[in-house]
Point group: C2
Chain length 468, copies 2
């Protein structure tokens, strides 16, 4: 049951427009945004919902049983929070399991053994059935360094750190990402038998951070693992100091299980005036299978649900149709986002038009603003709300990618206004894709401020997008 | 020894201005700010300095032996980082110790005993030599509620939470502060024998958060303690449910030791062109005696030291004199700040003029901008740097108090431009004045970004303040 928390003041401002036969909301944008923030900060359920998702359901990799449970829970929450309709949009997703073995060590010429903290990169093939692979270590910092090196029989360590000088940690992540995404095939092409990739984080610790890799066609698939930053630095230093190469051995028993049928969870709230225009808000329900996917992207999931709850609670009536979407398979395939865009393109032909979409997939930290992937007119529109959003410390309105899941919607014509929530990013990659991305590491008020920002953006879009 | 880290590029841009016989720095504001951020992010020593201050020295309440050690360390760091001169400005500070006993419990009519987590408020008198005081509990939310209540023989709990609806946690703190600052005297005036004050934090946990109180003259001084939010809420609920008042007992053995001679640590870097104009940057060296004073205000201390180090490292030559100040006694008397302003007023008469000052005393979290206490012309000047500071996610340039320590400088004529660093505040009061304000809870990059912001503000002030 939807809990009604509309205040008498809110009700008093819903004035009947007799001529049009409709209720008209006379509250200003600023007043509504204030009500949304107050509702979320005073009665917010995002933090408790995140606890349920992280602790009762747990991590939820595409294709897993727990992802099935998360989908059922997500749909139930859409219903509980008063969506007019809820449904699952079917998506065929990859199924892969990490297994229970991921071990590696390095041995010097003096016989000294360094145990290494590793975990399989998502989608990696296992080591052969005999178990261990073993070879001399080759440390490189760039993929193209392998163009001129003979890596035959070697285990390659990609050890280029994220650039600490970039203020935006996401940009630093992007600048180091090629090692994880393409390192395995680049190394295999040069003859390597296995790959270790320095974890994509500024933190110096012993946690391996997983993430997806991409095997190129026509190149042998070799086992690939993330290695902690402390181990990567130590290996690199030991390698430089050694007169003969260190020997690395590793074993992993991950398994490719083919595909599974899962889906995007969708809750729809029909618009009162322009029901054929759609504004979407979403995050992704799947997560990596270590930690609990609390920031990535449990936060986006509960931001999405809380936006629905809070807009209902303050008595908002959307003019356009709002879609609340929990995407599947962002982490290792983005098949949920692609399927959603494909369906949106079909709906377009039927007159159902996506006019705007927002994604929350950058963590549950304190929000700084939004990043826009839009036409100039859309960017200007959002920037015109700066004064309305300033009291909530929302100051950032830059251009850039809005998110992996909604990104494919930009191919629609006319192009929808896409935006991504921008929480502060300094701590994000400390936890990202690691065992420490757990509920305890999400701050209640910061999470709530993000949810209120998403809800506010939805209503500002709904009230201010041009009508053509 | 000052480590020279000036780059060859920096040196190349220091062009000899032959006509004036001086070196002129041809780097733009933007280029210098970029160099400062890169220096701090790549070679920063703030995080390690904070470890030394928190772990090797520890907490450092005014008048304590560890505050003496912190003062000696602070001056040594000023010398190490290349201050032209360093000295201690003598300040007489209060000396008070918490003692080793702070216990309380509440007993219901059914004999059930609730142990309570308390700690003395700073400056509290102890309970009498016999030890325990005991009385019926009286729960209030406002000081003025006691105007019409008979509190004789009672122990009063002030239980008004910080307002969760305020986005600015500092404002929420300010709105609840009267209970801690003035609760003891208000309760004593109504006849109470002891006081418990709900800890000033949004966090719901079992940590008491200390802080200073102020006894009014002519009103009996009664023992006053902070109580954790969980205990305060539980006591209040139990009190409402009970048919007869709960009985509270408490004991504390804090001791007033009179005064001690300590001082502000000052490092001075003489200006090359206008040495009689002073720009000050500071934080406070003293801390509360639980936790380690890591955010409050170890962060401000290492921000200040790092600003000196980084400006030297990038080869900056100040036009005006820069003063790096580690204030004493911010927490329980502000005698360091007042003394500094008194000396500044005397210097004014001698032609040494404070033109600007900046304070860092709001934690080591990610910086959002600065708050200004200045004439319109000063506010406009700082806002004109918005584009220069935008790449570092510095967007906030509001008006308000600049800080407790530099605040008294606003009485100078002409009025200096005062500003306070504004880090994100959502997590600050979770830790503030509690046992959890420790080094481990300060994030390295966030701390560094704050230090680079302070250093950048110093150089922007130095290069852009009007010359009259």
């Amino acid at each position: 049951m939807m809990k009604r928390k509309m205040t008498w003041m809110s009700l008093g401002l819903l004035v009947l427009n007799v001529a049009a036969g409709q209720t008209e909301d006379l509250r200003t944008d600023s007043a509504l945004v204030r009500e949304v923030f107050s509702e979320v900060l005073a009665h917010g359920e995002a933090h408790e919902n995140l606890r349920v998702l992280c602790k009762d359901i747990g991590h939820r990799l595409s294709g897993s049983r727990s992802a099935d449970r998360a989908i059922a829970w997500g749909q139930a929450m859409m219903d509980q929070y008063g969506a007019d309709t809820s449904y699952i949009m079917p998506v065929t997703v990859p199924a892969w399991t990490r297994g229970d073995v991921a071990e590696a060590s390095a041995t010097g010429a003096d016989g000294r053994v360094m145990p290494l903290h590793i975990t399989a990169l998502g989608g990696s093939v296992p080591t052969p059935e005999e178990g261990w692979i073993e070879g001399p270590l080759l440390v490189v910092r760039q993929l193209d360094a392998l163009d001129t090196l003979d890596a035959r029989g070697h285990i390659v360590l990609f050890n280029r750190p994220m650039d600490p000088l970039l203020i935006n940690t996401g940009a630093a992540y992007g600048g180091a990402f090629d090692q994880r995404g393409g390192g395995a095939s680049a190394a295999a092409k040069a003859g390597a038998i296995g790959v270790l990739v320095r974890s994509l984080t500024h933190a110096l610790d012993t946690l391996p951070h997983t993430g997806s890799l991409r095997y190129n066609a026509d190149i042998p698939r070799i086992p690939a693992a993330a290695i902690s930053t402390v181990d990567a630095s130590a290996l690199s230093q030991a390698s430089k100091a050694a007169t003969s190469p260190l020997t690395v051995r590793m074993r992993m028993n991950c398994v490719d299980l083919g595909t599974a049928e899962q889906g995007n969870v969708i809750g729809e709230w029909r618009g009162s005036e322009r029901p054929d225009e759609i504004i979407t808000l979403g995050g992704h329900l799947d997560s990596w299978d270590i930690g609990e996917g609390a920031h990535d992207d449990g936060s986006g999931v509960v931001h999405t649900l809380e936006a629905l709850r809070a807009l209902k609670a303050v008595g908002y009536t959307p003019q356009r149709t709002m879609r609340f979407v929990l995407f599947i398979n962002e982490e290792n395939g983005n098949r949920g986002g692609k399927k959603y865009a494909q369906v949106a393109a079909e709906e377009h032909l039927e007159g159902l038009r996506h006019v705007a979409a927002m994604e929350s997939d950058a963590g549950g930290f304190v929000p700084r603003g939004v990043r826009m992937d839009a036409l100039d007119s859309g960017v200007e529109l959002v920037r015109s709300w700066a004064a309305t959003l300033e009291p909530y410390n929302l100051h950032y309105f830059g251009r850039g990618g809005a998110g992996v899941d909604i990104g494919p919607l930009k191919e629609l014509e006319p192009r929808p206004l896409l935006m991504g929530l921008v929480p502060d990013g300094q701590r994000y990659f400390d936890l990202h894709h690691s065992s420490q991305d757990v509920w305890e590491n999400v701050h209640k008020r910061e999470l709530e401020l993000g949810a209120a920002t998403c809800a506010s953006m939805l209503l500002l879009l709904d009230r201010n997008l041009p009508t053509d």
